[in-house]
């Protein structure tokens, strides 16, 4: 941890992609950081939080209630002139998208970088396998895609520079294999960290998005993007590797971690094909791409998930090289992450090389599903629920360790969607079908997105039993603190007008069972706060 603050400029230290992002921010002199934890982005917040607590550096840090609030905090800091970083996982970008769109219209004042981490293959994500690059087009937010920890640091700094120059927030998009990749990173000088207090200078023309001004702001945004596109055309992070001896009729265009697999594939076959590596996903360096593909016969586009680069390249090829054969999702998967051997095969097909890999039939192996830790208080809650809930009771799951309810030996999870939705969807089922229903929700998740759904149950009158699985930490993402430290969950529940409310330590198994039985008969919404600390939190 101390090493991340090393002052040895030029020294190489080993950093995780997420830690390299933090180092980049410290080198850039970040002043304000807000986040909500989520894998694979969690270590960004964790690292900042540790440094913040040690007070060896000087910036403001907070774990916000959710990602929307985190981004809004960041917008406020930026409006007040501070250098700001906001980090989250990809679902978080959905949660804050409402605040993201207008932020592009107003633009930033203090330079602002938003980091989002996608998780192709859903290694650590229920919910969906999302390609956050769609947001780049939707929000018109300049987007950079690093491949490795060194680029995480460098692109982060470039993001701040771009933001400062063009007064626009910049998105850094990583994926699991970048965020959780460890590699040597060359250090530059740390910024002298003096926390400059910001100042909000009134400027309604900039900060207010009311019609008719809002459409002018949209034009201004497009003008910025045109300028950034010119910058992107000249930028070194969109680089062409062209060996003088390379076969120049076949080329590869790629970005992010896929670039590393491409390099690996070319080495595997001892090939030297020209590669265009795009650091800028948005705005794309159209002219550079056109020049690259102009004389090619074939091009391979290597990118994970939906073929966003490929579609753009198809469009560009119509102008400059209509006969170009474009390979991409016809030889690489659109679902799940790309692995190096997939690229080996794609490159082999493109160049007529033979892949020598003899594929043996892989043996069967016992599948080990994740499970609750021994001693976890959730065991007690699940066993009580299983014992007393009548057959046909519907069990609503939510995001956190307790979604392991869906695995053996519990098997009590009938739907699972997104943060806060166990209550929201539960209300809908109650209204539509009326069956008995228990909605599980974690403590951090309750604060994140559960409260509006609870209020909806009261206002629109439904009667699910909500069990708040209060282990007093955000356990699954690495035990980050949450608002429960300051605000009692039962106070919020009471204030919403819930009459059937009980706080129970689940070790009192009889009381818990009796209460579940009783509350399942109630005609109004009822809430049990099952409070017992996660075994890893002191």
């Amino acid at each position: 941890m101390e090493e991340i603050l090393s002052k040895k400029t030029g020294k190489k230290i080993i950093l995780l992609g997420n830690e390299a992002i933090v180092r980049g921010a410290l080198e850039a002199g970040v002043q304000f950081v807000s986040t909500y934890p989520g894998t694979p982005a969690s270590e960004i917040g964790d690292t900042f939080y540790k440094l913040f607590k040690q007070q060896k550096t000087n910036f403001y840090f907070e774990f916000s209630t959710n990602e929307k609030v985190a981004l809004e905090a960041g917008v406020g800091a930026s409006f007040s002139g501070l250098k700001t970083l906001v980090a989250m996982k990809y679902f978080g970008l959905n949660v804050c998208s409402d605040s993201l769109m207008p932020f592009l219209y107003t633009g930033s004042k203090g330079p602002t970088v938003i980091v989002v981490a996608d998780d192709p293959s859903c290694h650590s994500s229920a919910q969906s396998e999302q390609n956050s690059r769609f947001y780049s087009h939707l929000a018109h937010i300049p987007t950079l895609e690093p491949s490795d920890p060194q680029e995480c640091k460098d692109f982060l700094k470039l993001g701040f520079e771009l933001s400062e120059k063009f007064k626009i927030p910049v998105l850094i998009r990583t994926t699991t294999r970048v965020a959780h990749q460890r590699a040597p990173v060359k250090l530059s000088t740390l910024s002298r960290n003096v926390l400059v207090k910001g100042k909000f200078v009134k400027d309604p023309k900039k900060f207010v998005t009311m019609p008719p001004r809002v459409l002018e702001q949209k034009k201004e945004l497009f003008e910025k993007i045109r300028k950034i596109k010119k910058f992107s055309e000249r930028s070194k992070i969109n680089k062409i590797n062209r060996d003088p001896i390379s076969i120049n009729q076949v080329g590869i265009i790629t970005s992010g971690v896929s670039y590393l697999y491409v390099k690996e594939a070319l080495r595997e076959f001892n090939l030297s094909l020209p590669i265009l590596k795009l650091g800028f996903f948005y705005p794309l360096a159209e002219e550079k791409i056109k020049n690259f593909i102009k004389k090619l016969k074939k091009v391979l586009v290597v990118e994970e998930l939906e073929p966003l680069l490929e579609r753009e390249i198809q469009r560009f090829a119509k102008d400059v090289n209509p006969k170009l054969q474009i390979f991409g999702k016809n030889v690489l998967p659109e679902v799940g992450e790309i692995r190096p051997e997939y690229v080996f095969e794609a490159v082999a097909r493109l160049t007529g090389k033979k892949v020598k890999i003899k594929k043996l039939k892989l043996p069967e192996f016992p599948r080990r599903l994740p499970s609750l830790c021994p001693g976890c208080p959730y065991w007690l809650v699940f066993s009580a629920v299983k014992k007393v809930a009548p057959k046909n009771t519907i069990f609503g799951g939510d995001i956190g360790c307790y979604m392991l309810a869906g695995f053996p030996p519990h098997n009590i999870q009938d739907y699972l969607s997104c943060m806060g939705s166990s209550i929201g969807i539960g209300h809908g089922i109650k209204k539509a079908a009326g069956q008995k229903l228990i909605a599980f929700i974690g403590d951090s998740t309750f604060f994140h997105a559960g409260i509006p759904a609870l209020i909806n149950c009261l206002v629109n009158k439904s009667n699910p039993l909500i069990i708040v699985m209060d282990n007093q930490t955000t356990a699954m993402t690495g035990h980050q603190p949450h608002p429960g430290r300051v605000i009692k969950i039962e106070d919020v529940v009471k204030a919403c007008g819930v009459k059937n409310l009980k706080v129970i330590d689940p070790i009192k198994i009889r009381e818990l069972e009796e209460t579940i039985k009783k509350f399942l008969e109630k005609r109004e919404v009822s809430v049990i706060v099952a409070r017992r600390r996660c075994i890893f939190v002191k």
Partner: protein, 202 residues
């Protein structure tokens, strides 16, 4: 080093066995010896007592953080039921399996017939050059009183018996750097214990 100046390692086990710590140690040791190095790891839900496989590659110049199919030089398995899932990365040409003869039960195993050691070895004949069961957890429990040190002990086996082309001194130095002071002694002990442990021939 074999295979075009690069070494590909996979550590496989169950969340909570300290796989990421082992990766950090080896990454530091590889860098100290002048190699380029990359790791890939998983955090979050996958760690909650589930299967975890982490990758480490080092050599002259490393691009991909992931080991490719059939390219692993060494696979360290910290829980034996995790062994066969690694065959994807293994090949008879070069892969060596070091397997901790240790089991962690899982609710998801209920009703499954877990493979016997003999069966595992038989299957691995197609996927490895050599596969060895090691009583790592048992030895660490007996000699130091802590099963959890099995990973470090296995690292010691790999290094001292030259399955892993890194010097014991650089790994020990890295252990010093990565392991918190209060646990350092027992970790060093577990690593060095491997120096004098004989390997069964199978």
């Amino acid at each position: 080093m074999r295979n075009k100046d690069e070494f590909n390692l996979i550590i496989s086990g169950v969340g909570g066995q300290g796989l990421i710590t082992l990766l950090k140690i080896l990454a530091e040791a590889a860098m100290a010896e002048g190699f380029d190095v990359k790791t890939s790891e998983l955090h979050g839900l996958s760690q909650r007592g589930g299967s975890v496989g982490v990758h480490l590659r080092f050599g002259k110049k490393i691009f991909s953080p992931l080991v490719s199919r059939e390219k692993a030089d060494l696979i360290l398995v910290l829980e034996k039921n995790e062994t066969l899932k690694n065959c994807y990365f293994a090949s008879r040409k070069k892969t060596i399996f070091l397997i901790n003869n240790f089991q962690i039960d899982s609710a998801s195993f209920r009703g499954l017939k877990l493979p016997e050691d003999k069966e595992i070895l038989k299957i691995l004949k197609k996927f490895s050059q050599k596969a060895i069961f090691i009583e790592a957890s048992k030895i660490c429990k007996e000699k130091i009183g802590k099963e959890i040190l099995a990973g470090i002990f296995m690292l010691g086996i790999a290094v001292y018996h030259k399955f892993l082309p890194l010097k014991p001194e650089s790994v020990l130095k890295a252990i010093k750097k990565i392991i918190p002071k209060e646990y350092l002694k027992m970790n060093e002990k577990a690593f060095q214990l491997a120096k004098f442990s004989f390997l069964p021939q199978n």
